[in-house]
Symmetry: C2
Subunit: 199 residues, 2 copies
């Protein structure tokens, strides 16, 4: 015997969480045992409630407890600019900058033939519909700079450009706080291409 049964079950469940190995799962399980019942119920309920309450926004496909989501209904957002992201976590990363005031469209993934994900698996049709109906100023393609991200941007650019809107992508270059010595060649090459005048 190592663990009493309910503890073993809890450790197994915690281990299914991403980035949680056997040691962390054990620590987390002991933490649960050492909390009072109220705190443990708060944890369990927040898990169940998040799963029950959070749905997809029917307009932008972001996750939200409301439909349409908080961003789509906000009067302070510029709905003439649409930022296309792969996943809700990318949207959150952009929101965190507090720099973007437009709205979003979440694709639900990136084109990846190896994983069997083609354009039809993503919410590209809905994006096209939105772009052709609305009087947009700009479509920002804010996708990963991975092979899948680049392929998706190429595809989106091809099908969106006939609609005559301004299509942009995120700037290339050195990340903040980089030591040039350790940056890879491609990043430096692209930073050179994208150099800007010092005013």
């Amino acid at each position: 015997m190592k663990y009493t049964k309910p503890l073993l079950k809890l450790i197994e469940e915690f281990q299914k969480l991403p980035g949680v190995g056997p040691k962390s799962a054990q620590r987390m399980a002991f933490y649960v045992l050492n909390q009072d019942m109220e705190q443990v119920e708060k944890l369990a309920n927040s898990i169940l409630e998040a799963k029950k309450l959070i749905k997809k926004c029917s307009s932008c496909h972001n996750i939200s407890a409301n439909d349409p989501c908080e961003i789509c209904v906000s009067s302070s957002r510029d709905n003439k600019t649409i930022c296309v992201v792969s996943e809700p976590k990318d949207l959150i990363a952009i929101e965190r900058t507090n720099e973007y005031k437009g709205v979003y469209h979440v694709l639900g993934g990136l084109i990846s033939p190896i994983d069997g994900i083609g354009p039809d698996e993503l919410s590209i049709k809905e994006l096209l519909g939105k772009v052709s109906k609305n009087n947009l100023n700009e479509i920002i393609l804010a996708l990963d700079t991975s092979t899948e991200g680049e392929a998706t941007m190429l595809y989106l650019n091809r099908i969106l450009s006939p609609l005559g809107k301004k299509i942009t992508r995120l700037g290339f270059g050195l990340p903040a706080g980089t030591e040039l010595e350790y940056a890879d060649e491609l990043t430096i090459a692209r930073a050179l291409e994208g150099r800007s005048e010092i005013k």
Copy 2:
């Protein structure tokens, strides 16, 4: 807005778990959202059940769904040998070796005046009772080799030795897989003291 409310709450709850920062909490929350309801309920229920079902064994103070615990009632364990540990996780670490067949006594901590933990805060009285009543062969003090662990071993040795039982502590020396070059002085000094003849 960054997170929709139930998601924010879930991330906050996950962040309270030991070793979980904002990034991991977000990853774990998105994992929950991407699972089906059945799996999410399994996670939430295992948290609640572990907390509800697991109690302290009234004999050895280990955590268990049963009282007395699985080890205390097992007929295959040698109840003439008692291994004193600080916490249930130390007991689990020893059980993992599959080398120990005796029973345990969990102190519930280590003597640490700075944290306000004296002998009365630990289950030392219960240990004394057990040692004086039973016909024991050996008491193994398997405590951390930290200051608190050493202080607790000194204290236990002082109050247990008048009872005339054999009291031992875990061996000192190099951990398995050590490069001598990187071992600290104290460890090497103790490994020298504790050297054994090669047969």
